[in-house]
Amino acid sequence: MIELTYSRAADVDDAVRRAADGQGRYLGGGTNLVDLMRETVETPSALVDVTGLSREIAPTAGGGLMIGAAARNTAVAEHEAVRSGYPMLARAIVAGASAQIRNMATVGGNLLQRTRCTYFYDTDGSRCNKREPGSGCDAIEGFNRSHAILGASPACVATHPSDMCVALAALDAVVHLRSASGERTIDLCDLHTLPEDRPDIETVLKAGDLITAVELPAPHAAERSTYRKVRDRASYAFALVSVAAAIELDGGTVVGARLALGGVAPKPWRARRAEEALRGQPATESTFLKAADAELADARPLAGNAFKVELARRTLAAVLQQLTEGDRP
């Protein structure tokens, strides 16, 4: 780790001021950034600790929920309003990392965590366009079992590692930002960018932008929802495929669905093609599989991860089967 300065932000204004010179990095629980600094993947010269900023979880006027960016993952998952109104979010959070890490990690930090692609971490031995733009990608021809099948590019095939963000994508969450020029909001689905030829750029945020809160719209009372994660071991592993799904039925017909996939793309992957394919159709396994096929039509598997296409297809259909149990025609 290189030498650095550390300061604690007293409030949002103070945080933005401290990071205004572009040298400062905001520090949350440190569960990702500290590790990246130790591996010298990240080399900030100044850390601005924002864990003292709002961690409040409070209802909004519109019936939704505002979650302060410094709220710990555990606090969100255990919150009564999250468990009752947004069960897929509670389940996604407890599917991620370990309890110790969830006790440390903040909501803001979770959004900005970086890929766990091993080539990205291997500063000594591997080429990585995300770590060093233009140097090449050793994952494309390498060990790429865990890599992306959707949204990747010839420059980068890394996946976004978050579980929480997959649920937030399906829930139409809105991210609240603050910078020296003021406040603004952005849909979570628009926060992360696809790699194209610049995989080092992962979000639309500019230097100094601070995530202050994540807002959830009011729960859809008629929806049933959940989160399912498929991984190499039963717990404490990153997703090979995960599915956040909410579905609303009228009789045996799908009124609407909100779906997102994790573990398969460089960003939390909102599955709008699958949603479109479900609308107005009978809630049957054949409909669910067709919807999955529609979403995965553009999948471009690598040598090591072709299994993910079928795994994603079956997992999506299985989750929809589970949610519609007893109400299918």
Partner: protein, 165 residues
């Protein structure tokens, strides 16, 4: 920072992890360095009663907080009930992961009592019970290369199960 009831000034170098601070500065060697990258749980300590990974924590971030390590669990030379139970149930072989396992279990029980759900909790509306699957899922952040998991589960169950958590 208060460590096991004793005050200690946080390090001036912001790069020092809480783990290195405990081991190298304060000579509290009970907390173990396994992977040093948040993958094994050997460095688990309690901060204000909550379990965290000291390897991923910068010590400066914890100024003013209360840290409990394995050395702080015994009282007046008597082992913590969980320490005794790990001995009674063969909850370890080499013992390297044990301080982390025990600190983690102490924090885990508090989470369970508070009603924090886990990935295997079926009904999010009610607090999970103290059963085998819940316990294994909630302790999954602590790896044991000797594979003493059955003994670990037995030890934790022995101390906490009859209290109905």
């Amino acid at each position: 920072m208060i460590i096991n009831g004793r005050e200690a000034p946080v390090p001036t170098d912001a790069r020092v992890s809480l783990l290195d601070f405990l081991r190298e500065h304060l000579e509290l060697y009970g907390t173990k360095k396994g992977c040093n990258q948040g993958a094994c749980g050997a460095c688990t300590v309690l901060v204000d009663g909550e379990r965290v990974l000291s390897c991923l924590a910068l010590a400066v971030q914890y100024e003013g907080r209360e840290v409990t390590t394995i050395e702080g669990l015994a009282t007046d030379g008597a082992l913590h009930p969980l320490q005794q139970a790990f001995i009674d149930h063969d909850g370890f072989q080499c013992g390297y992961c044990t301080p982390g396992q025990i600190c983690s279990a102490v924090g885990m029980v508090q989470e369970l009592r508070r009603g924090v759900p886990s990935y295997v909790t079926e009904d999010l509306a009610t607090a999970a019970g103290f059963d085998h699957d819940e316990l294994r899922e909630r302790m999954s952040g602590n790896l044991c290369r000797c594979g003493a998991y059955n003994g670990i589960v037995d030890a934790i169950t022995d101390v906490y199960a009859e209290q109905g958590t």
